[in-house]
């Protein structure tokens, strides 16, 4: 039996369907990640107005036609269009990145309250302008943690030796999701990770992005490590990161 459902959701992505329709992917706090057909969304000016643009927070009425059937959008009313994001090219890139990142780690059945709150808070930040590089790393760590893939740091996965007390180089084992000391890592292909990067991550988790500063070299290593962790879980690179990389050259 089809039934009407009301919910509030953020637009994660959209793609054209046929000549005039669109399929919109939403993230709702209660209903998680879901897709719905928006009939005539490309051609009709009035039907959905500007409610189905990327990053829009919208009040929806959808017809749920049961399991394994695409839902149909009946009505959409804009709550927050995050219009300010659209006035800054880098902020647009960051908003695309957080949307794609969160969507990629969420299944359709997953509980999504925390992911929704993270996305919503990030979009509000982006209304003020682009994120700092430190905030971007915190965002990546948060998404990984929410998905249950937080990198294991602080001690060797194999022998338990503590890393943060000492100094020097450690290895990150992507297949096991954590660090190894040099003796446990020998003979394997691993990514090197200095103690400073681990300290940076710990500081991000404990104090957030505001109280954390880091030198460019450490930031570079942190960025490439997180990118590789994310890519190895997802099995493919994120397109929005490619977009940001291209913008950086502008």
């Amino acid at each position: 039996m089809p039934r009407f459902v009301r919910t509030e959701a953020i637009v994660l992505s959209r793609r054209d369907l046929g000549e005039s329709d669109r399929i919109i992917q939403f993230l709702s706090r209660e209903r998680g990640k879901f897709s719905a057909v928006a009939p005539a969304a490309r051609k009709s000016r009035r039907r959905f107005g500007g409610c189905l643009e990327l990053f829009c927070y919208t009040r929806l009425r959808v017809v749920d036609k049961g399991p394994n059937r695409l839902q149909r959008l009946e009505e959409a009313v804009l709550i927050d269009g995050h219009d300010k994001i659209k006035t800054d090219l880098v902020a647009i890139g960051h908003a695309g990145y957080v949307s794609e990142l969160i969507a990629a780690f969420l299944g359709e059945e997953d509980e999504a309250e925390s992911s929704f709150d993270l996305l919503s808070a990030t979009l509000h930040c982006l209304d003020q302008g682009p994120l700092s590089t430190v905030s971007l790393r915190l965002l990546e760590l948060s998404v990984l943690s929410l998905a249950g893939f937080a990198p294991h740091l602080g001690s060797c996965l194999a022998c338990g030796t503590e890393s943060l007390a000492g100094e020097g180089m450690w290895a990150y084992d992507h297949s096991r999701g954590g660090i190894l000391c040099t003796s446990c890592a020998s003979g394997h292909e691993n990514q090197n990770i200095p103690v400073e990067v681990q300290c940076f991550f710990r500081s991000l988790r404990q104090q957030g992005s505001e109280g954390t500063s880091v030198d460019p070299q450490c930031m570079h290593l942190a960025r490439s490590l997180l990118a590789k962790i994310i890519d190895s879980y997802l099995g493919k690179p994120l397109k929005s990161r490619e977009f940001l990389r291209k913008l950086a050259g502008v």
Partner: protein
């Protein structure tokens, strides 16, 4: 059913909005028409594929390069209207509100598709900004992609010292130019604002 008919149905079905039923009806219609019609149709399809190419200058689809719009001396050579695709150029042209030149980007920047400046005809646009051009009107769509494209181009065009304006008023958020009615598009063009 004859193999030749099935092959044509299969090809027609790849067209937008054409399903199995419609494709079959079209094939029967072709067969019941005089043979001249079928030959002319086949020839017209071949001509479109062989003769129509993007204009080297503006990207408009044309049998000549430069296209008739670029080659027309009566058009205002000091203004370039930038659109995402040829359908948008036709929409602006049909509004009868604009008499300048065009530049077709062949797409828009897209954060979620990873589409960057190297994948649109942005450098070709900047290369056209000689002493003659006084204004560039950015008529990209009112979507996030269209806005991103406008922001990027604004930066590059301003570096070349040319005034940039953006059509805005009346275009609904998310709106694609090709679906906007003539009157609205004419208003949007005449009410364009300098980008701040």
């Amino acid at each position: 059913m004859a193999d030749a008919m099935q092959r044509l149905i299969g090809l027609l079905r790849q067209l937008p909005s054409v399903g199995e039923k419609t494709a079959t009806r079209l094939v029967f219609h072709i067969l019941s028409s005089p043979p001249d019609y079928g030959h002319a149709l086949a020839q017209a399809v071949a001509d479109v594929v062989e003769r129509v190419h993007p204009c080297r200058r503006c990207g408009n689809l044309s049998e000549t390069s430069p296209c008739s719009l670029c080659a027309d001396p009566r058009r205002d050579q000091s203004v370039i209207c930038v659109v995402e695709k040829v359908q948008d150029l036709l929409a602006v042209e049909n509004s009868h509100e604009y008499r300048g030149l065009y530049h077709v980007l062949g797409g828009a920047l897209s954060p979620l598709e990873g589409k960057g400046p190297d994948q649109i005809r942005a450098t070709e646009l900047v290369d056209r900004l000689g002493s003659e051009v006084r204004e560039v009107i950015l008529a990209t769509s009112a979507s996030v992609e269209g806005e991103a494209t406008a922001l990027y181009l604004k930066k590059r065009i301003e570096q070349a010292g040319v005034r940039v304006s953006r059509i805005a008023s009346g275009i609904p958020v998310g709106g694609e130019l090709e679906y906007i009615d003539r009157g609205t598009l004419a208003l949007a063009l005449s009410g364009r604002r300098e980008m701040s």
